[in-house]
Structure formats: structure tokens, C-alpha cells
């Protein structure tokens, strides 16, 4: 059930990108001024503050996709980019937007390792040209029981995996995110094991819905949303969708995944959205729709986040209560 009326404004026009950019430049500028005033040069090198400007998002040319979810209205650009989890930039959901300007997204490469015909490194700009970028509007469900609708831009991860030429011994795919104390000093404050690691079974990774994502709302990803490249798995809880990926490994055994390592009883390897599997803190039966007024923010959570028709077959015969 949607709260706001569907609008026929193209998603690229909904947000005022300039407002957002100005805010971020202001934040960077203010932080730089404040830090130098305090003599905290360690935190903001001139190089990094320059980066805040050069990492400005660029417009993407996208094509429509039949895999985009129809009939749902995207959450505002502002909410998508100011309310999210990205522990490398702080544990509060408003932290990533404040702190991720430190992230340096160029140059950027993704290393391909493990059971592949040939280990190699892809440059981000080449990666973005590998296949036409599609707009995919997906539901996004966080394990913390809130949800959004996000117009992502990317192409199916399967296109990239084919280019990686994995061997038949590759049963799982592991995603490793950037771990950089300089750009992400917050990782020191967290008890999680770094770098952030996520993983998928090969058939999940090859599923056409699994998106290798470079942008949202028709422009390159804002840093806080996992720039310059991330994955998006609309039928799984948000934390499965690894951000700012620097390495993809094709492996034989189920790889370690960060939240599962941290609390195995709470976060399983699969982490499919499932209203019938409870979490000790959050009821997974309902979700709060971000951006909705508080008295009608609650809506029922759908099995596989509403993507059951496409993905349920992946888990045929599996007990999803034990394989949560």
C-alpha cells in the first residue's frame, strides 16, 4: 500500500540535485574549515577536501528495464541519501551523509580473484561501459524494519560475472568493500570485522534481479549510498547489498559475511526478506515506510520483499526457518 500518489514526473526530475550538492559541498567546506581551525589536519587533508568536489555525481544515460518494479513510487532523493546504514562512516543512519564525502571514488578498481579463468582487475569506468545501464526501481527492505523504494541504475551482475569467466568450482561469490582507515576512520569505533564482506550463492548472484549498481535517480551513486559501485538484492535485507566494492572473489565454500559473523543468531547467510522469520529486536511482519507520515507509516512486509515470483524457485526444498 503506497502512501503518496504515484506521480508522472520522471524520477530524474523529482529531486533538486543542486540543493543536495550544495549541502554536501557546504558540509565538506565547513568540516575543512572547522578541522583546520582546530588544527586537526590529520582528519582532513587538502587532498581529501578537494575530492569532495571532484566526486560530484554525474548524470547517467539509462535505458528502461522490464525487471524494474512497476506501480511503486520512489522514496525522495533526500531520504534515500540521508537515511541509511554504512558503518564505515558511522553507526547512526544520518552519519553516512555527513561523513562519506571523504570517500575517494576515483581512481577505483575491482579486483577479481579466486576460481576464475584469469584473475584480473577492472577499472570502474570500463565496468560502467560493459553493458547498458538500466533504471531498476526496486523495493528496499532493511532488517531494522524500515523500507524505501529506490530507482537504482545498473545492470544485472550476471553480465559482469560472465565477463569474469568463473570456473565450475566457483560455488559462491564474495563481495569485499573498501577498508580504508584514512577515508573511513569510523571503522575503528565499530566492533565489526573489516573489510565488510558479503556473499551470495552462484545462482543468486546470476539471478537477473541481482543488480551491479552505479547510480540512483539517474546519476552516479552518492558516496553514502555505496559509490562508486555496489550490488543490490531487492529480495534480501539491505545489509546483503554490499557497498563500495573493491574485490569480488569466486569461491568454493560459503564465504564469511560481516553481520552473520557479528551475531549469527540474528543474521543468517541468506537473509531473505521473510515476514515469518522473527528477529529478536524487530518484528519482520511489518515495515515502516520511510517518508510516510508517522500515523500511517506501517505496512505489511511481503515474502521475498514481493519478489517471490522471480526468486522463490532459488530456494525450493530449503527450510527457510533454519536457512534464514
Amino acid at each position: 500500500m503506497l502512501i503518496r500518489k504515484p506521480s508522472d514526473i520522471p524520477s530524474s526530475e523529482i529531486t533538486s540535485k543542486s540543493d543536495y550538492m550544495n549541502r554536501r559541498q557546504f558540509m565538506a567546506g565547513a568540516a575543512a574549515v572547522g578541522a583546520s581551525a582546530l588544527g586537526a589536519a590529520r582528519l582532513v587533508s587538502p587532498h581529501q577536501s578537494v575530492n569532495a568536489d571532484t566526486s560530484a555525481s554525474a548524470k547517467l544515460t539509462t535505458v528502461p528495464s522490464p525487471l524494474s518494479t512497476a506501480g511503486i513510487t520512489p522514496t525522495s532523493f533526500k531520504d534515500i541519501t540521508t537515511y541509511n546504514n554504512f558503518y564505515e562512516f558511522g553507526t547512526d543512519k544520518s552519519d553516512p551523509a555527513k561523513n562519506a564525502w571523504r570517500l575517494k571514488t576515483r581512481p577505483w578498481t575491482i579486483a577479481i580473484e579466486g576460481n576464475v579463468k584469469e584473475e584480473k582487475t577492472f577499472d570502474i569506468d570500463a565496468l560502467m561501459k560493459l553493458h547498458p545501464i538500466e533504471e531498476r526501481i526496486y523495493r528496499h527492505r532493511c532488517v531494522e524494519a524500515w523500507s524505501m523504494v529506490i530507482p537504482w541504475d545498473g545492470y544485472s551482475l550476471s553480465e559482469f560475472i560472465k565477463a569474469c569467466k568463473p570456473l565450475s568450482t566457483a560455488k559462491y561469490v564474495q563481495f569485499l568493500s573498501l577498508e580504508d582507515i584514512g577515508e573511513e576512520p569510523w571503522i575503528r569505533e565499530s566492533s565489526l570485522h573489516w573489510p565488510y564482506s558479503e556473499g551470495l550463492r552462484m545462482d543468486e548472484a546470476m539471478h537477473p534481479l541481482t543488480l551491479l549498481t552505479f547510480g540512483l535517480y539517474g546519476q552516479t551513486l552518492p558516496n553514502q549510498d555505496g559509490a562508486p559501485v555496489r550490488v543490490v538484492l531487492p529480495w534480501k535485507y539491505g545489509f546483503k547489498s554490499a557497498k563500495s566494492i573493491v574485490k569480488i572473489r569466486f569461491v568454493e565454500n560459503q564465504p564469511r559475511t560481516t553481520w552473520n559473523e557479528s551475531a549469527p543468531k540474528e543474521y543468517g547467510f541468506y537473509s531473505n526478506v521473510n515476514p515469518n522469520v522473527d528477529h529478536p529486536r524487530w518484528s519482520q511482519k511489518t515495515e515502516r515506510v520511510i517518508g510516510a507520515p508517522f500515523w500511517k507509516a506501517s505496512q505489511p512486509t511481503l515474502m521475498f520483499n514481493g519478489y517471490g515470483d522471480q526468486v522463490a524457485s532459488l530456494y525450493k526444498g530449503m527450510d527457510l526457518r533454519t536457512n534464514f
Binding site: 558503518y87 553507526t91 529478536p280 518484528s283 520511510i290 517518508g291 508517522f294 507509516a297 506501517s298
Partner: protein, 209 residues
Amino acid sequence: MPNRFVVALKWIVFPLCLVPLGVLVDQGFTDSLGPDPVATITHQTGFWALYFLLISLAITPIRRFHRRLAWLIRFRRMLGLFAFFYACLHITTWIWLFSNFNAHTMAHDVVKRPFITVGFFAWLILLALAATSTLWAIRKLGGKRWLWLHRAVYVAAIAGVIHYWWIVKTGVRTPWKVTVVLAILLLARLVWMVMESARKNRVTVATAA
């Protein structure tokens, strides 16, 4: 402090205690509760329930610093009742915004989610204390029994802090501040008890000799 000053001060403190609620209401009307308004309301009402509980627990130790601070005791009930007031708003967000008045969902939560079990327990204690906060109740129960019952506030405060630790995610350590404050307030009582018994012993020894 003369009575009229205490009364005048109460007229200032009472509306001050309503400021956190006022801020929330204002944010509600100006659409500035943030992207997740339900979370904002829940967190703020929960924080203030805990803060008021800690403030009311601070009265006694502070009062013991000096005889001339004795008048502070006259604010304790009001502050305690404000803790209960914010705890009621907090539990209302759960009953309404999270459970949509569904008794089955709530019962399930109380049984299955430890942080809700302990939070609900803390609220029940506050309810009992609020219900017996009148002069009439003190007379009816008798001073001693009333005092014993109201010592349950320590249990409520500890349960409230545990409730906070159990809702935050692994790796989040934000509850440490309220934990330290509560520890200091409880420790202050322990120190006082030890000092008192030592003093009494000295007195007994002195009289015996």
C-alpha cells in the same frame, strides 16, 4: 528555602519538563521528524523517560551534600511522574505505531523479545509507583511499606538501561552514558549507607564508653 520559592520554582520546572514533548509536537506539525518519524518519536520519548528517571534519582544524593539542599526533595515526585509520563508516551508508540493496537502482536512481543519484556516490566513498576505517589497512598500503606515499595525505582531504572542496551545493534555503544550515570547514582547510595553505618558505630562506641 522558603516555601514560596519552592512553589514558584515548581511553576518554572513543570513547563520545562514538557519541553521535550513540545519539541516533538512542533516537529510533527512542521514535518521535521526526519525520514523515519516513528523512530524519532520512539527514541525521544524513551530517552526522556530514562533521563527523568535519572534526574529524580539524582535528587537524594545531591540533597545529602548539604542540609540546605533539603528542599530538593519536594521536586522528586514531580520528576518521577514525568519519567512515568514519557514512559507512557513511549509505550504508546509501541501499542499504536508498532503494534497497531493488536493485542496478539503485543503479547507475542512481550514474550518473544527480551528488550520488550524488560521494558514492559520497567513500565509496570513505574505504573505502580505513580499509582502510589499520592499522600493518601503513603498514609494508607504506612511510611515504611511505602518506602520499601518505592525502592523498586532502582529496579525500574536498571531495567530501563538494560532495555536500551538490548535494542541497540551489535557494535553500537550509545547506552554507555546513561549506564555510567545510573552506576554513579546507585554507587552514591552505597557509599552513603557505608558512611552512615560507620557513623552510627562511632556513636554507639562513644555512648558505650
